[in-house]
């Protein structure tokens, strides 16, 4: 077995040193009934070539985004990833390191994540950001939990069209508490927070002033959720919010059938000790040299146990690195250009698709994603186009379809899609 360096001799030598005749003597505390007799469904070991063949076969049964025109978004986006991103994150020193508990030999990870925190804070207009969350859905739920801790209130208002998975995760977590009320609408005096997604699930960007005022009047916190982080290169920063969280998969990470993605979490400085998750801070070493270290650990589960701000432990470290490398490559101009290119591709798609009889644009203002109404059932259209090698978007209720265009979308893709759609309506 290629991953096991022990030899017949080394095993014998170690058994002798331990003073037992077989490994099973070391398992003497285990009930006999728990030993496995045989593993019917698990085959014997395979060579690298065989494993590659089997899994390559599985991969080939899937339609990849690069196989044809692709217009699906809905919280997971198809973007270009520069080659050097994957090169950096596959370096052993990053890929096979542990959480940086020993800072003297983990400054690489620590400094990169410090840069990640800086990028997120700059993009969201918040004071501070943590070292990442699992994904946008769990980050949103953690934000709501944090608002409940801060305000000591237990009503949660959803202000607009929140991603259905984010709503679903929020509702599941809140079932753990007997007295939490999640509702759609405006905050009242008992509301812990308003959750506002921008662009919302149908692609519409929002402004925050009216919501800020409502929050100030009631004492609720304003949570802004962003699940297409590239939009922050074109849309105003949600700097008036108390917490900005969401999904950053769009920068540096493949769609990977839904994960691993990259949740982010940022907030105002005054709430920092209520934040969930890991934080990297600047300090000095014994020689006074600038260094980075995990900090404010007393919020966390390994110190506070049942009183911790969250049970999160491992987060999305390597994904945060991919994001950081990609952001570094983009820089200010590149990030803004990328946002512009996305918007322009979506404008082009909207113009072309609405030329088709039976198509109406529902989301009039958008970033890179919008809803249209069709003269037919959207689910049927999506399936029929999939059979032609076109991934046509996300079927909403009945005849509504959510379409997304990014810098990956070519004029040709749009033309092929529109021709096929026209033939169907």
């Amino acid at each position: 077995m290629r991953y096991l360096p022990q030899t017949k001799k080394s095993r014998e030598d170690m058994l002798e040193a331990v003073g037992v005749s077989s490994v099973d003597d070391l398992y003497k505390d285990v009930p006999k009934s728990a030993f496995i007799e045989g593993l019917a469904d698990v085959p014997l070991h395979k060579s690298e070539l065989e494993v590659e063949r089997i899994l390559g076969g599985y991969a080939n049964e899937n339609h990849a985004a690069s196989d044809g025109p692709f217009f699906l978004g809905a919280g997971c986006y198809y973007h270009h990833i520069p080659a050097s991103v994957d090169h950096i994150i596959q370096r052993s020193e990053f890929l096979t390191a542990y959480t940086p508990y020993q800072p003297e030999i983990a400054q690489g990870t620590l400094m990169a994540v410090y840069e990640f925190q800086t990028f997120i804070a700059q993009l969201t207009g918040m004071d501070v950001a943590n070292a990442s969350m699992y994904d946008g859905a769990t980050a949103t739920t953690e934000a709501a939990l944090m608002a409940m801790r801060i305000t000591k209130r237990n009503k949660l208002a959803i202000g607009n069209a929140l991603h259905p998975d984010y709503r679903g995760v929020l509702l599941s977590y809140m079932k753990n508490y007997d007295d939490v009320d999640v509702f759609d609408g405006e905050p009242d005096e008992d509301t812990a927070c308003v959750i506002l997604q921008s662009p919302d699930f149908y692609g519409k960007p929002h402004v925050y002033d009216v919501w800020r005022k409502k929050c100030d009047e009631t004492g609720a916190l304003l949570i802004v959720v962003v699940n297409e982080i590239i939009s922050l290169g074109l849309l105003p920063a949600p700097a008036v919010a108390d917490i900005v969280c969401g999904e950053a998969q769009s920068v540096g990470l493949p769609m990977s059938f839904g994960g691993p993605h990259l949740g982010f979490f940022s907030c105002r400085e005054k709430f920092v000790r209520q934040m969930p998750g890991r934080l990297i801070g600047e300090t000095v070493d014994e020689d006074g040299r600038r260094s980075y270290v995990l900090t404010l650990n007393t919020r966390e589960q390994h110190i506070r146990r049942e009183k911790a701000t969250s049970n999160i432990c491992t987060n999305q470290g390597l994904c945060a690195l991919a994001f950081t490398v990609h952001m570094a490559l983009l820089g200010e101009d590149g990030f803004k250009t990328l946002a512009r290119l996305n918007h322009e591709a979506a404008c082009k798609l909207a113009d072309e698709v609405t030329k088709i009889d039976g198509v109406t644009l529902l989301t009039k203002s958008f970033f890179n994603e919008f809803a249209i109404a069709l003269s037919k059932n959207a689910g049927d259209v999506v399936n029929a186009l999939a059979a032609k090698g076109i991934i046509a978007g996300y079927a909403l209720d009945d005849n509504q379809l959510l379409l997304c265009a990014t810098e990956m979308t070519t004029d040709d893709d749009i033309s092929v899609f529109c021709t096929a759609l026209k033939g169907m309506l």
Partner: protein, 507 residues
């Protein structure tokens, strides 16, 4: 000599004038991206924008303040940072309860196949049958390995799996009308995530004392259980965090079940059992798997992890969604189920980690996995046998895949667990887990894993013996100062917490 001094002075002067950027040999200092001179060009070339009127309905964003550097500068920046990290590919990494084993590159390769990496989670299921088949097979195999037939792959990490598992238990009690069951029993040696998770699920934690024995005893369990009326379940890591198998686990789980409670097993230490022993066969009702421990997906400097859970047939209907179903060779995603506790993660979980884990499992096969567990356990026992005369062993072995020592003997001479850890760093190794579990003072929890050869283990033993011998002889001074050969020496963690600087800001 004079000329050499001049050169040295020049280097020192250069290093002083540029306080963070400078180099000695292969050791490069590096500024933050924001401290580099702003270039004219982005590190990514794009086609020209057309400059059309915006249709966003909101004002356009102004300057953000991001840095701007070219691609070669970016690559050099991160390569330099990488040289400041220690990793499993460098050397020995005996971090207890973390299972730092070799991360096969085959797994990285297959996860990047376009059919996996470029599949969208909401594509029509007819276009992702390969991905669903892969997930279904992983569900099947994890069920087989654990003896817990119903699997949900969705949880994002170990702690998230704990949450999913405890919520499954909560949902089951609710469905049975047992809403009065509000207490969860957790041993004092548990990972911090266990009590934290139970608290998030709305449970009250009652601690089972194991400090004296390092193991759960029937007596201590009975005392914590009381009449058991209000006990929803217990969260136990087995093998436990002292590296020991819970001898009385069958009797304890029987007692728990009689009282109507469920047994949650923290699967962090599954590496001692995989392919050899099934938790479902010693009374476990729910457990999570750490794919980033037992099944070799890379730790990545702190994630992404992946924490699927397995439950008994009785609890299947309460599992979170989604679960992958197979209907005569046609795979579908079950996104809703009436009794389910609901969704805990966007989309279908950390799919890229599922690919890597299956690649690992197929590579080992049933035969290789069993060997994994056996080699891991044998290696830990070998270390224990070699160090037991030099270090205090709080609980007698045999151990499972990790062994627990303490600094009790060395501390008498002033050398603490922290000093031992930092000395290992100086000697080119990652330390073991330190000061955990909390049930012993100055814990040193050592997990060698099966991917370490005997020579490398022997080297570790030699260094540990050297520390013990020098300490005994009173030559302790260097140990307090180590590390000195690392990019940084010991850090001022108090300063970091007292005056938090959590991001770069313009001066």
């Amino acid at each position: 000599m004079a000329a050499e001094r001049d050169v040295q002075t020049m280097i020192d002067t250069a290093a002083e004038t540029s306080s963070h950027e400078g180099a000695r040999g292969l050791h490069y200092e590096e500024n933050l991206l924001w401290e580099k001179e702003r270039g004219d060009e982005s590190g990514v070339d794009f086609p020209d924008i057309k400059g059309i009127d915006l249709r966003t309905g909101v004002p356009e964003r102004g300057a953000i303040g991001l840095p701007q550097v070219s691609e070669p500068q970016v690559v050099r920046h991160f390569v330099r940072l990488s040289t400041w990290n220690y990793s499993i590919d460098h050397g020995f990494f005996p971090l207890g309860s973390c299972t730092m084993k070799h991360n096969p590159r085959l797994n990285e390769k297959v996860a990047r196949f376009p059919g996996f990496a470029q599949a969208h989670p909401l594509q029509p299921v007819s276009t992702v049958q390969g991905a669903l088949k892969l997930m279904y097979e992983l569900q099947d195999i994890l069920g087989e390995l654990s003896g817990l037939p119903a699997i949900c792959l969705a949880p994002a990490a170990g702690a998230h799996g704990e949450l999913a598992g405890m919520m499954t238990i909560r949902r089951a009690h609710e469905a049975q009308g047992n809403t009065h069951k509000k207490i969860v029993l957790v041993p004092d040696s548990a990972h911090g995530t266990n009590p934290s998770t139970a608290a998030i699920c709305g449970y009250t934690i009652k601690t089972i004392i194991t400090k004296e024995t390092g193991r759960l005893t029937v007596e201590a369990f009975k005392e914590a259980l009381g009449d058991g009326r209000d006990v929803a379940g217990m969260m136990v890591t087995n093998p436990n965090t002292c590296g020991l198998f819970e001898t009385d686990i069958q009797e304890i789980s029987d007692l728990l079940h009689e009282a109507g409670g469920y047994f949650y097993c923290d699967g962090a230490n599954f590496n001692a059992l995989v392919g050899k022993i099934r938790p479902g066969d010693f009374g476990v009702d729910v457990m999570h798997f750490n794919l980033h421990k037992t099944f070799s997906t890379p730790h990545g400097g702190g994630g992404p992890g992946s924490g699927p859970i397995g439950v008994t047939e009785e609890l299947r209907s309460y599992l979170p969604v989604p679960v992958i179903k197979n209907e005569s060779g046609s795979y579908r995603i079950e996104n809703e189920r009436k009794e389910s506790l609901g969704r805990l993660k966007g989309f279908h979980g950390q799919f890229g980690m599922h690919v890597r884990a299956l690649s690992y499992i197929l590579s080992h096969g049933a035969d290789g996995l069993k060997q994994v567990a056996e080699d891991a356990v044998l290696s830990a026992n070998y270390i224990l046998s070699q160090l037991k005369d030099d270090y205090h062993v709080p609980y007698a072995g045999p151990c499972m895949h990790e062994c627990l020592l303490t600094d009790k003997v060395q501390k008498e001479k002033g050398v603490t667990t922290l000093d031992i850890a930092k000395t290992l760093v100086e000697y080119g190794m990652h330390p073991m887990t330190v000061y955990f579990p909390l049930v012993v003072s100055g814990a040193l929890l050592i997990e060698p894993t099966e991917t370490e050869g005997k020579d490398s283990i022997d080297h570790f033993i030699t260094v540990m013996k050297h520390i013990a011998e020098e300490t005994k002889a009173g030559n302790t001074e260097p140990f307090h100062n180590f590390p000195v050969s690392t990019p940084r020496r010991r850090l001022d963690e108090v300063k970091a917490a007292r005056h938090p600087r959590l991001r770069w800001k313009p001066e």
